[in-house]
């Protein structure tokens, strides 16, 4: 019987070895695939056993996201707390059990949970695991300025709109405000509180990050891009002269100026920008054609989502939209170039994109990658990564940028944007008012940078449902936010 017993024994051991193989499969090869699955309840809970990294504002002191420790049945969980509440809600986002993560909490999750592949982090995490102590994530220091952000949110209070400000020479984001804002602390348990938020627009959409994900008609602020194309292509110069009749003829129909009753007559390019004369830009647009204009928008970053660190579904590309989708004219007849030239014609932009336009002019034509993250620190303070300024491309020649600066400075010193003047500081800017035909439903905007001789701030302000012009509504807000940023003498 012994030979049979040996065979049965082999069969029994083979069964048990199959178990070893199967266990190995599930605990090594299959792990990565299983961890990412939406229905993985264990992962959903386990993430709260990790002490997520703290998120700081640019001053390195203001805490935007931290943890609150709570013990449940002998286990320690770390739940997220946002001490500065609505201040940076749209940028930082939230990490909760009930809802999927949003904002930097989502896009920086690997860093915040110590799961990234940085050697230092891997070492720390592995040591923590072996020692059985809580795994700690990397801390993140942002570039944003909490004081200026507070000023920006206060200026937006009661209105719908957004403010976005960057340092033109580095791309460091200083302000990213979206109104109405919400308290991310309510996301876990009191989500109804967020849903009940109302504003000067309907729907109020408090969760929408208008600064990076809101699409607006730019109106006359887009004239900066048109002028960039006109001058950079060598077809026009500051000295070019035009005859304003108060309207321009497109396809045999009149396209009126903002105020068509008093035409300016003969003007040069600077004056046309200074007083935002639609008919002039309409003619320029017709001469340049829509394809060249679109080409120049792309140089500033249109047609691709803003390259910032927030999740890709929280930012949207600027450009021409048709039926809710981005579209590019394949021939000159698909788009009305005259209206495009002064920022109408289904053109939709984000505040971040318009700030990038202002920043490019300020930086001599260079488009720098805007970034929220200044540095990421391992436990113990060692730097995991530090963001270096990255030039995406040279959008326009430095001489073009200088010409545009002259035009934009004239706008603030004696044109439509005088409300943005700051005593003792040279400011360059451009107003925008996109009319809807209904009073109180205009989208107004203002883009600017300062100081002109050594720009430190570039800003875009966009407001919904306004009855005034961009110069009256958006320009004063841009002024006080720039003042708040410049007072600290940032570089």
């Amino acid at each position: 019987m012994n030979s049979q017993i040996s065979r049965v024994a082999l069969a029994a051991l083979a069964m048990l070895i199959a178990l070893v193989v199967a266990t190995t499969y599930w605990q090594t090869w299959a792990v990565a695939g299983l961890e990412d699955r939406q229905d993985n309840a264990i992962q959903r809970v386990a993430q709260f056993t990790i002490k997520r990294g703290v998120i700081y504002a640019g001053d390195g002191r203001t805490v935007l996201a931290t943890n609150k420790q709570r013990r449940v049945k002998g286990r320690t969980f770390y739940f997220r707390r946002y001490p500065s509440r609505g201040l940076f809600a749209h940028t930082v986002g939230y990490a909760t059990q009930q809802r999927s993560r949003v904002g930097l909490e989502q896009s920086l999750n690997d860093y915040l949970t110590g799961a990234n592949s940085n050697l230092n982090t891997v070492l720390n995490t592995t040591l923590d695991k072996l020692r059985g102590v809580t795994i700690k994530g990397n801390n993140v220091v942002l570039t944003v300025d909490p004081r200026a952000q507070r000023v920006a949110l206060a200026a937006l209070a009661g209105q719908c709109g957004a403010i976005f400000a960057v340092a033109p020479r580095t791309g460091a984001i200083l302000v990213s405000a979206s109104s109405p804002t919400y308290d991310p602390n309510a996301a876990e348990r009191n989500f109804k509180l967020i849903e009940r938020i109302r504003g000067a627009c309907n729907p109020a959409s408090p969760l929408l990050n208008r600064a990076t994900n809101g699409r607006y008609v730019p109106g006359s602020t887009f004239k900066v891009v048109t002028a960039a194309a006109a001058i950079d292509s060598g077809r026009y110069s500051l000295a070019s002269t035009f005859n304003d009749l108060g309207y321009c003829i497109e396809y045999g129909r009149r396209v009126n100026n903002y105020d068509t009753s008093t035409p300016f007559g003969f003007v040069n390019f600077v004056q046309a920008m200074q007083h935002s004369i639609n008919s002039v830009f309409c003619d320029i647009g017709k001469k340049l054609g829509p394809q060249l204009l679109v080409e120049y928008t792309k140089r500033f970053g249109f047609y691709s989502p803003p390259p910032i660190e927030t999740p890709s579904n929280e930012r949207v590309a600027s450009g021409l939209y048709r039926g809710g989708r981005l579209f590019e004219p394949k021939n000159p007849f698909q788009v009305d170039p005259g209206r495009l030239a002064f920022g109408q014609e289904r053109l939709q932009v984000t505040p971040v994109q318009m700030a990038m336009v202002a920043a490019a002019v300020a930086a001599g034509g260079a488009v720098l990658r805007p970034h929220f993250v200044d540095r990421i620190l391992a436990t113990g303070g060692r730097v995991v990564t530090r963001t270096k300024p990255k030039e995406l491309r040279q959008a326009i020649k430095p001489s073009t940028a200088a010409a545009l600066t002259t035009m934009m400075e004239a706008v603030v010193s004696g044109g439509t944007g005088t409300a943005a003047q700051i005593p003792g500081i040279r400011v360059a800017g451009k107003t925008g008012t996109a009319e809807t035909g209904v009073n109180g439903r205009n989208t107004t905007s203002f883009i600017a940078f300062a100081p002109v001789e050594r720009p430190q701030v570039a800003i875009a302000v966009i407001l919904e449902n306004q009855s005034g012009t961009g110069g009256k509504t958006a320009a004063p807000i841009a002024r006080i936010v720039m003042e708040a940023l410049l007072r600290r003498g940032r570089t």
Binding site: V8, A9, A12, M15, L16, Q27, A41, T49, V72, K73
Partner: protein, 426 residues
Amino acid sequence: MSARNRELLNLIVVGMITVAGFASVYIARQAEVSSASLSYAGIFLGLYLVAHIVTRICVPNADPYLLPMAGLLTAIGVTEIYRLNPDDAFRQGMWIVVGVALFSFVLFVLRRDYRRLESYKYLFGLTALVLLLLPALPKIGTTVNGARLWVDLGPLQFQPGEFAKIMLIVFLAGYLREKREVLAQGRPKDLGPLLVIWGGAMLVLFQTNDLGSGLLYFGVFLAMLYVATARLTYVAIGGVLFVAGAVGVYQVVGRVQERVSIWLDPWSDPHRDGYQIIQSLYSIANGGYPGTGLGQGTFSTTGGDPLIPYLNTDFIYSALAQELGLIGACALLLVYMLFVARGFRIALLTEDGFSKLAAVGLTFTFALQTFIIVGGILRLIPLTGITLPFVSYGGSSVVANFVLLAGLLLISHRANSLSPQTERGS
């Protein structure tokens, strides 16, 4: 070193592992080592010292590794159960006491010659049959988690199938030893008993709604039949019959259908039918290579509600795999392998047919049961609700496995006492 001293030494090592296990669960729970954790381990060690003294008296020449391995498995089980639910761990501890008591009783009663059981083989067979049919009776039969395996006698709930299993092995060992020459001729008319047992297994399958138990009984029967007759054709015919029967049952019994479809694609319904197996796989995957550490795994929501039902019993392997990781899970499986290897070694060493068949039956049922439950969790086969020997929470299972252990030690003692290799003893 004598066999029993070796056993004692092994038990002390097991005791130290138990202390370490309880201490780490305690640290994870309370962030301190309390004397309670040590006293748990102390009581545990004391219990096994009693068992050790009984083996010293009753079966001095028995295999010295089986008792420590059983001790280790129960210790791992109680530690994990304690980590999941301290109250259950206390009850499990009580059942281990009962198990050790019955273990001692069996060793003491049968210490001179267990082979007299052979003459009562039909009584054992009949009792096994009655026990298997008990859950089918109205009033006392109870359905738990869809399987009708339980008997409820007011204060006492138990799974008679666990004991029927051992009695069936005793019966088969006696019966096959007597008939093996006849059966080995392989005449068609000798297939009768095969068909009877097959019918029985199918009946069990049908009546309990549980594929696992049917597979277990029939698998053990086929293994013993093969050892007795050396005819692989029996195994082949039996295998075909079982598969055919299982397919038949699959057509009729909804629960078996459900189990099979979950096995084939658990993600088709991840929140209801597939939930348990899917979350169990997530639990295993979460352990990864090193595991989360004892007491540090994730088994409940942040509110403290359990994530996986039946974690204590059917799914204890996925809890262990998460907390001990691949290293720990493989170590656990290695203990099962060693236990099985020692069991077959006893079957090889012992002289008479009854002992050989009994040892093969007891060892193979141990291995097959481990394979069925762990294989079910790992999606090698459809999942069925049976226990992981010595580790899962469950009184009947623990007590029955102690009887199984006593049986192997009795056979081993006799083999080593008779054979000239006694002094090697290992």
